[in-house]
Symmetry: none
Subunit: 117 residues, 10 copies
């Protein structure tokens, strides 16, 4: 969960608004209360401005949460914030979908939109 892992590369086509979507099927972190592993899917959707997130670094960044104790709600917002900080996008949505624990499965969705100046 070190956001320093996130690398970006210059948006090759910054003049155009276009939508980028990355779907990670195998996210895992740890429940801070029980110590049990959580498994989920992370859907990232954004319109880049000057930078795009590099995929391998995104994978490593996601993997850095593997042994981190963190609530669903927290990790969802944390991912959004780190990715906003790294890419400074025009618009971004981050959704997590968790396979469940104790018969309860959960989905969390947070979004960011750059303020118009």
């Amino acid at each position: 969960m070190t956001k320093a892992l996130l690398e970006v590369f210059p948006n090759p086509h910054p003049k155009r608004d276009f939508v980028i979507e990355h779907i990670a099927e195998e996210f895992t972190s740890v429940c801070p209360k029980t110590g049990h592993p959580d498994f989920g899917r992370v859907v990232l959707r954004y319109v880049a401005d000057k930078s795009c997130v590099e995929l391998k670094s995104l994978k490593l960044y996601y993997q850095s949460f593997r042994n981190k104790g963190i609530f669903y709600e927290d990790v969802t917002n944390r991912l959004l914030e780190d990715l906003v900080a790294a890419t400074k996008p025009r618009w971004m949505v981050l959704r997590t979908e968790w396979t469940g624990r104790g018969g309860i499965r959960s989905n969390i969705e947070a979004s960011y939109e750059r303020k118009k100046r």
Copy 2:
């Protein structure tokens, strides 16, 4: 059905409106008229304000209805009210879907929205 079982933790990102969804597939209570067990699914969807419901406590709270005689309509609203009282959310929907008794299956849906001040 002791709402004291519900625990919350501080919303780690209270400045942002984001949607939290918890789906419990294995809720069970008892029909107050026949004494037979009822089985259903509970879908909770909300936007937290200062507090989030903790998942393990939610599971224990749901389990506390196991031997409680209570109508579908009542339990749906009771769940909503206890969860509203515990988390003081900005918005919440609670839907129960029951597998049925005597050839009839039922769905009940109730919602809460905080009054704007």
Copy 3:
């Protein structure tokens, strides 16, 4: 088809508008013209005011049509009217879906909305 069979219980949460749905998969009555049995599904959806229909009584009420000769169109409206009379709801829809006779299957849908005063 005695509406006296319908029992209600006080809406445990009358201050809130919430939607109740009961789906009966095994309704049967008799064709008044041929004397042959009809088979169908009854979908009831309503917003209760002061009263909710009790499920076991609903089942018995539905079963009371078992040997009644009655047209699809009539039974659909009759069910709606009896249920409106018994529960005095804010809003109600009743839909019947029949498996068919002589190669023709039928669906009938009627609704009620309380007049605003």
Copy 4:
């Protein structure tokens, strides 16, 4: 194809607008050009005014087309017109779906709405 076969019965609940749907899966007539049989499905949907079409008579009416040579377009409108004449509905749609001949399958849809006075 004798519309005299159509029988109606008084709409048991004429004060309410409600939707009646009859789906006949096994309609058959004859192609007026080749003499080969056509097979299709007839979907009838209407809001009755004073009269409802009786189902057994509808079946016999549909069966009366069995050896009639008639184009898809014609039979669709003919069915609509006979059923409008017999039931004088508030609104009616008639759709035919044909299984096809020579690698081409066809669907025809016609509708009627009573003029407001």
Copy 5:
């Protein structure tokens, strides 16, 4: 449940062993213990000898169980016996599949084979 309702007609091709299957999707009888209706499917499969069961009479025979209080196991064997008595087949299987009551659904299968002389 009057087996006198069953009519047969002469097997039009008695020299050949061929398999006849009739599947009734809408069988209903009554639970002798609770008085509630049971709903099920009846699959009949047989090789006729001198007689075949006539379909309309089979339908009326099945309908005659509509208000009869009888256990699943009993009705399955009763149907087999009445149909064996009426048609004197070379071989017959009768299977009932019930949609269930109280969360349990049931299937019963009984068969008959004529003794070789």
Copy 6:
């Protein structure tokens, strides 16, 4: 139902045993008891000897049953016999599958195998 309609053409490859299957989805005849139309599927499977049945003639032969009153069991065997007489096959199976009448659907299967000399 005139078997004279059946035309054959010489098996172009009589030295080889190969399987021919023709599936007619839109067979219709008339119930001899009620006068109502029956609808079904006819599956023909055979190994030709010197003759193959010509497809257009097969279609016309099937169509000749359109207004014939005949039981399921009879038509199944009649089709088999006419087709055996016309093509003198090495082996043939004929299966009819009927969409049903009065809530009962039926399947009939008969077969023929040439006696070894």
Copy 7:
């Protein structure tokens, strides 16, 4: 691809706007560049004015493209234009869906609407 093949018959119900749809699953023409056959589906949807296209002539007209070398884009518009010329409809859509060549599959859609006078 001779449009002279198209025959029409008088719209039997010209006073009513109704929708006619013909779906041909087995259209084939030839790629003008490679000489290889193309396979596709042609969906025609229109509201007739004074004339309807006759189905057998439509089949023969479609078959006339069998050995014609023509691009997807061209054949789609050509079909539309010939059918507009033959039937003078109030509104028409023609869509072709091609199974593909070289790993690329294509869909083309063109439409016509009569100018209001």
Copy 8:
């Protein structure tokens, strides 16, 4: 339908029995009786000996039937024989599946096995 179109290449692994399957979804020929096009699928399965059929030549060979009038039974055996002659396989099955004409669809299957010496 010129078998000279078939090209083979040396089986690169003749010491091993292995199964080769080629499925052509878009075979078309012409009905010799009506002149209308037939459409079908050709499934070829074989164990090569010294030669394998080259795919592009197989495609062209299949395409050579495009305007040939030929019965289903004949084309199935003809394909088998040409392919046996061209590749001299250890074992081969050829199955054609036709989309149908006049409401009847057909499947033909023929096979070859090399005689043991």
Copy 9:
């Protein structure tokens, strides 16, 4: 990735706005960071003005990316730009859908609309 490979032919029906869609299921390029192959689907949708892209050249153009190291975001926009330059369309959308690497799959969508003069 040589755009010179793209060939166009004159739009045979330039007076009409009609939609052309080409779906390539088997696009492949190389990840510029890891050197591993990427696999994806390319959906092109456009309204032509004076020129249409020729399909075989489109296939070869797509194949020219086979050994090119290029990011998802870049290739998506590059394809759009080359196709806009080659065909000068009225409107175009290009969407790539990638099967994923390291548990993450991605979709990118970019579009172009000609400025109104």
Copy 10:
């Protein structure tokens, strides 16, 4: 297509016969006749003896065929032989399933079984 790329590791449980299956969805090579790319799926199934194939090396080995011109039949057997040589299994099946070229799709299956001594 350098088999030297294949690495193995010691079977951790050599005393037991157990089945290992690796399914590669994105295999690609080049048609030696046309130069166009082929796309397929490779299913490997084997019972290891002393060695198991290492997955990353298997991926690189498969990728080494990317620009190799080779027939379906050849590549299937080549893969089998290289994998047999590298792992010396008790039993192995290798199946390739190709998405097709020119309307024909192909499946090839070869197997190996160790001779008993």
